[in-house]
């Protein structure tokens, strides 16, 4: 007797999907695709216990389950709410959700310095995307923003606490990926900040991954600091034999020079194979890597701005169809398009050759 795993049916924005029990609503939505997946600022699939902090992924549960069809009274964070059989979830179709998300954007941006022109994360920043896609472009906050003193946390990682949204991703990364966490969230409430305890430096083989998981520009690569904007660099897929990590990375080129190495991110901006600090910070020569090809980047991403590829240029299909319909094809083959033997056998050719010979004989005489 084979045991079929029980599957739960969930409807998200009117699209039905079957998932195994224990899946979160966010994961079920991601299974359907980008059009219904709620945005996530703090949830990071490869990191356990992440999620439930930023409230960006709030959704409306219109029907709890088939057994208990009452709706949930408040909006729920989809990244930490497991699905029930027969659950009906409304995401972008619910006005309350869309409205609340505008509020969430405003809340997240209350203390954000909005220094995108200076920030190295601009162009691949999740907060930028989230605010652009879900916010309403205005801010009512007039008071002075909270600022922190600059802190040096080592030679590789730049901490810009003003930009932090306290998603805790870097804390989970340090706990789960590296062997020993030296940084964490200090103080409480409005004074909460990411910091190392009494100005230690973060120094671990996998500590560089906090840069990749940071959704904003709070933790950035010091070796890449102000080198170039993301949209002027060219990402390439590359790998190398590394005894510490998988060695699969993206290289960010500026001309012939590698100016940054990052882990490979999937379509949700999550790194699945974390890379070590040697690969990230020390291998900055093309000869260190085996480059396999350019990274596939969405046409709408700013990273593909001012870069042209043959597959992005569209043929004028309408014009070609129109021309095919309205113009007769003409036979433009020429009667003298014969092969060489036929030409040599022709009368014209023979007379020409005779004339040539006569001329040569005359000139010799």
């Amino acid at each position: 007797m084979d045991i079929k795993p029980e599957l739960f049916k969930v409807t998200i924005d009117g699209i039905e999907v079957e998932v195994s029990p224990g899946t979160s609503i966010l994961q079920a939505a991601r299974k359907i695709g980008t059009e219904v997946a709620p945005p996530a600022m703090c949830y990071y699939k490869p990191l356990e216990k992440s999620g439930g902090k930023c409230r960006a992924c709030l959704v409306k549960v219109a029907q709890g389950s088939t057994n208990d069809p009452r709706p949930m009274p408040k909006l729920v964070a989809s990244c930490i709410t497991p699905v029930q059989n027969g659950m009906v979830v409304e995401n972008f179709t619910n006005e309350q959700v869309v409205d609340t998300r505008k509020g969430i954007v405003e809340f997240l941006l209350i203390n954000h310095p909005l220094d995108c022109p200076v920030c190295d994360q601009a162009g691949e920043c999740h907060l930028q995307d989230f605010a652009f896609e879900n916010g309403n472009g205005v801010q009512r906050f007039e008071e002075e923003r909270r600022t922190f003193e600059k802190e040096d946390i080592g030679p590789y990682i730049q901490l810009q606490m003003n930009r932090c949204i306290l998603c805790y991703r870097c804390v989970f990364t340090a706990d789960q990926i590296t062997d020993g966490r030296v940084h964490g969230v200090m103080n409480r409430g409005d004074h909460a900040e990411i910091s190392t305890y009494i100005h230690k430096t973060i120094d671990n083989d996998f500590s560089g991954n906090v840069i990749d998981v940071c959704p904003v520009g709070a933790l950035t690569d010091k070796t890449f600091r102000f080198k170039n904007r993301v949209w002027f660099t060219k990402p390439m897929e590359a790998h190398r034999d590394c005894d510490k990590c998988c060695g699969k990375v993206h290289l960010w080129y500026k001309g012939d020079e590698i100016i940054r190495v990052t882990g490979r991110k999937n379509q949700w901006g999550e790194v699945e194979d974390f890379i070590c600090n040697t690969c990230r910070f020390e291998m900055k020569k093309t000869s260190d890597w085996i480059v396999t090809g350019p990274v596939n980047i969405s046409r709408h991403s700013v990273i593909s701005a001012n870069k042209y590829a043959a597959n992005t240029i569209k043929k004028p299909e309408f014009a070609l169809d129109y021309a095919a319909e309205h113009y007769k094809k003409i036979n433009d083959s020429r009667p003298y398009n014969k092969n060489l033997d036929e030409i040599k056998a022709s009368e014209d050719y023979k007379t020409l050759m005779e004339q040539n010979e006569n001329y040569l004989n005359k000139s010799q005489n």
């Binding site: 022109p117 200076v118 080198k227 904007r229 002027f232 001012n306």
Partner: protein
Amino acid sequence: MQLTNRSKKTDKTALTLAEKTYLPGIAAGLGITLKHFFSKKVTIRYPEQKRYLGPIFRGHHILKRDEEGRERCTACGLCAVACPAEAISMIAGERVKGEENLYREEKYAAAYEINMLRCIFCGLCEEACPKEAVYLRHDKFVPVFTSRDQVIYGKDQLVEDMNNRYERDAWTKEEMTKLWEKQQKVITQ
């Protein structure tokens, strides 16, 4: 046979004695010439004199400084990515201690170059700039060049001179319409 009524009939009456001498005709002609000596000239002496091109003319680029003389540009690269001719390039630098009176933000443009052969003066860089740093002057052309190494403009040619600051009569569309209305009134008066 007359085909149209547009043709003019020639006056074929014989000339009078005065007309035969041509003197009145010459005097009248010279009179017209003399009148133009004293009337207002329609031409100007370009390039010493220049006409006003309006408050929104797009000419020579300028990298503005703020009231305290600090450079506004932070090398964010939005002008370069907005530029349809790809004429702008820049290299960013990090401000060190003691340079706070030179640069407004922690990052600045260590080099900022515009290739004037490529530039089409569309003004998209001006529109893209989030720091109100790059503008196209309404009062100055990019001069004619004689050699190719003159066309790449660096920061020395672009950054605003604090002793000779650039002021525009109108910065916004609303200000511009107001200015036009004022000028229209002056003309009609």
